[in-house]
Amino acid sequence: MTRATLAATPSPSWTADQPIVRVSDVHKSFGSFEVLKGISFDVRKGEVVCIIGPSGSGKSTLIRCINALVPVTAGSIQVEGIDVTDPRLDKLALRRKVGMVFQQYNLFPHKTALQNVMMAPIHVLGQDRREVESRARALLAKVRLAGKENAYPGELSGGQQQRVAIARSLAMRPDVMLFDEVTAALDPETVKEVLVTIRELAEEGMTCMLVTHEMNFARDVADHIYFTDRGVIVEHGPPETFFASARDERTRRFLSQVL
């Protein structure tokens, strides 16, 4: 996995007018338990997609499959033409294109906020330290954490840590960002600052996929909403129609519980 192979992995077959993420008939089982039972959808460049649904419906598994943290059992996923399900997949090339933010932030506790943001571009991409540092400072400022560069994760609130995590992902200049219930572990008062950051990102044209329980936020920023239950997409549509006129009984019941 040299840097040369990383640099040489543009996907010739993919052009920007095609879906940036293609999920086709994805199945995933853990042992005998089938979590995903045939999921298919496309995400276009610049689109913001929210995946909602009850706990245990396979949302997080689905989003983890997209950057190959979890291998699929059957079906295929393509990101910018890279076949994620190919056993010979160059995982590093894929993960340069796909950023991920986790529910528990997962910052590196022994590094400062600035170092957390700088690590991957320097050590994975081999970029110039000074250039990376100025970019990292700009990213921290962008997520409204200017002045916190030298704070360790343990000294930051949950919301601040999550924003560092977003900056850390962005430092790799991904084309797609995955957000896995990124506000679920936060105090209510810090949820907003994280959502504002994600909204700004979406408005700048970043392709985003969010697993979320924040229905109002989903209604606000999403271009398309997918409702999953027991491993299948039950219903989907743009937020206006999805929230106003859900057809499926399960969707209606879920929405009535969370709204």
């Binding site: 993960r95 986790f102 528990q104 910052l107 590196f108 690590m119 050590h123 994975v124 790799m172």
Partner: protein, 283 residues
């Protein structure tokens, strides 16, 4: 932590390997400031024995004082063996521990088996194996390199250190939450980069107390080298006892002196380890 420097008599090298000669300066005068209370303790042990001994020969206390420089030189040698065994064992143990965590099938299993074997056999048996299986001299590029007994003993002690350190490394790495691996993976770090840049720096702190524990144990275990004929403190104590005519009343003071030396060396290490453990726990 260099008791060797404080107590080792002559600087440089391993003095005990040299032919023994009594130091020229007055041993008692040299010892008194730092060891007076220690010797007072010894005197209490020795007093009843001395009462039986009669005035014709040296009192037990005088015997201890007379031979203390030699015995302390021997102790310095114990410390030196333990430090070297620890250094070798730590380097090898980190390698073995990482091998247990490696990807693939063969290497981790091999490393695991090695660790289990060296962790679950008596140290003395390992020592015997090394002493009697390793030749007294090896030839490297045509040059004969002698392997003195003390060096072989050092290797012998570094084997259990290696296995224990390997287990400490493995345990510490496993104790880092899996989410750290996931986060690093999603940032395109390779497995090796993740281990060296993200996981190991986080668990270095956690490894320190158990590592010091192993050191304390190995320092105490070095006296076992006397069984295989290495001239360390316990061997010297026996020789001194014989040189003083093997008087029974000298047993307690002479061996009590060895006991005190080890206690005074290992107890502070033990306390320091406990303090570190407490500190890391609260964080």
């Amino acid at each position: 932590m260099s008791a060797a420097d404080q107590q080792g008599g002559r600087p440089g090298g391993l003095p005990v390997l040299l032919p023994f000669a009594l130091p020229k300066d007055d041993a008692a005068a040299r010892l008194r400031p730092t060891h007076s209370w220690l010797l007072t303790g010894l005197a209490l042990v020795a007093l009843p024995a001395w009462a039986q001994g009669g005035a014709a020969s040296l009192s037990p206390l005088e015997v201890v004082i007379k031979w203390a420089p030699l015995l302390l030189t021997g102790f310095a040698f114990n410390v030196a063996i333990s430090l070297m065994a620890m250094a070798i064992g730590t380097v090898a143990g980190i390698g073995l521990g990482l091998a247990m965590l490696a990807e693939g099938r063969i290497l981790p299993r091999l490393a695991w088996c090695t660790t289990q074997v060296f962790r679950n056999v008596p140290w003395l048996v390992l020592l015997f194996f090394v002493m009697f299986l390793v030749p007294f001299q090896i030839t490297v590029f045509g040059i004969p390199v002698p392997l003195p007994d003390w060096l072989k003993a050092t290797f012998g002690f570094s084997l259990p250190v290696m296995a224990n350190v390997a287990e400490i490394v493995r345990g510490a790495v496993r104790s880092v939450p899996n989410t750290q691996w996931e986060a690093a993976e999603s940032l395109a770090f390779t497995r090796r980069q993740t281990l060296w840049r993200i996981i190991l720096p986080q668990c270095a702190k956690r490894m320190l107390p158990p590592w010091m524990n192993v050191y304390s144990l190995i320092a105490m275990a070095t006296v076992q080298a006397s069984i295989v004929g290495v001239t360390e403190m316990l061997t010297l104590t026996a020789q001194v006892h014989a040189a003083e005519g093997g008087r029974p009343e000298l047993f307690a003071p002479l061996y009590g002196f060895a006991l005190l030396c080890f206690f005074l060396y290992c107890y502070p290490i033990d306390r320091f380890t406990a303090a570190l453990e407490r500190r890391f726990e609260t964080r």
